[in-house]
Amino acid sequence: MKDIVAAIDERIPRPNDFTSPARGPRTAARTGLMLGSCVGICFLTGLWSHFQYASPGWLPIGPDPAWLYRVTQGLHVATGVAAIPLVLVKLWSVYPRLFRRPRKRGIRAVVVGGLERASVALLVSAVLFQLVTGAINIVQWYPWSFSFRATHEAVAFVAVGALLTHLAVKLPLVRIALRSPVEDRLSRESDGPSRRAVLLSAGSASALAVLLTAGQTVPFLRRVSVFGVRDGDGPQDLPVNRTARAAGAIDGATDPGFALELRHGGRVMRLTRAQLTELPQRTHRLPIACVEGWSRNATWTGVAVADLLELVGADPASVVRVRSMQTRGAFASSELPADFASDPRTLLALELNGETLDLDYGYPCRIIAPNRPGVLQTKWVTSLEVAT
């Protein structure tokens, strides 16, 4: 049995078998610094997105600035994309360490060594999990049984926690590596790439990946971002995230008897679309910003929600429950906090970019408010109810 183990062990490479001097702590610490920055921004903007979905009492998020979610969520996806080349180079630089054998014998050495390996495994696993599931989520493919939103949040904490723990363990080594010159005699004389070349490649690849995908968020990159999930186009110069057919909203939306219901306590008012168009109309330029990272500005025309609230005698600064006629999919209703309901830019929109709302954008009427995640900009609105 011992012979078999020894024979297998003999065939598994050892760290010294990997000869490129470009691998190792000096490369790992520097790519780690770039990667850590991306992971940090990605984590904080992701956390922010959860706060925007359900604003906690201690952090009331208002409608200003209107572009805030557009920027934070655009950054979230962009830093996630930027992290992919960096994590691959980082893992390449430390890959030989996977083949380390325990230096000392004895239970304590095995336990300590095992714990260290387990913590690194957790870090690699959680970071790769986040990047892979995030990248798959933005193309709207869900080949798993867990809830993406909840699990992506939970594993984000595991990833950042494992990163901090890893940094705590490696801090002395990181300091030495960062203080040492990038190159030494060994790496300069190597016939492979120098450390500087590897670092430059990682940084350039990361920047290139962002450039080629960020056009879905950054308007002037639209033509350059050939790998963007969206290019910002759609039937009315805006992408569609859920069609009326997918939401099961066609029958309700095209019903000629449609009337919006306004409810404030016992007071109920019904307004047909024609009646809505006769009310004072406001036009605002506001972005749609999706959790998947894409966003685009558009010109919206409709009735201010605050004006509708006044029609039923409600304080414009009320919490409003918005219900959609969609019969399938999540977010069939949303809640407009008082700050948003009272903002004159928060509209029950009837027109988009000067045309009647397309069915896929929420015809007969939809909510559009400044600084809100796209899924909370409820489409195919059937009722607005003042929450008591």
Binding site: V139, S145, V155, A159, L171, P193, V198, D231, R245
Partner: protein, 137 residues
């Protein structure tokens, strides 16, 4: 430094525990799917992708002249990692019928163009390197 390390470690462990706590209400179906993906991505990297890169490195040292190795390695890192960063749109998965504004770009052509561009830059760089150091080989 010791205090900073202890602080970082404690904060890190607290975050890991909190992340685990957030999954407490997941049933066995969701948890096993999460575990499968957590393990799957590591196996995919450590047992498939990384050995493949090592193998390509070994082949490169056998077929490439010394002075071209660095250029080819840099080109490969940029091309390979950018390709994996956009593998989500290249793979052809995702999207939904009737969703014309999602995944509607000619990704394969874009990738071929990227490949050609990286290859072109690498060839030019290799030629320039050869010109500057003609006796290097």
């Amino acid at each position: 430094m010791r205090a900073a390390r202890l602080g970082l470690g404690a904060l890190g462990i607290a975050a890991i525990v909190w992340g685990g706590w957030l999954l407490r209400d997941d049933g066995i179906d969701r948890l096993s799917s999460t575990a499968l993906w957590l393990a799957g991505v590591v196996v995919l990297h450590d047992a498939v992708l990384a050995p493949l890169v090592v193998l390509l490195g070994v082949v490169a040292t056998k077929v490439l002249s010394q002075r071209h190795r660095a250029v080819v390695a840099v080109a490969f890192v940029v091309w390979g990692t950018v390709t994996l960063a956009v593998a989500n749109v290249l793979s052809g998965v995702g999207g939904k019928p009737g969703m014309d504004s999602l995944l509607h770009r000619p990704y394969l052509s874009a990738w071929l163009a990227l490949t050609g561009l990286v290859l072109g830059v690498a060839v030019v760089a290799a030629m320039m390197k050869g010109r500057h150091r003609p006796t290097d080989a």
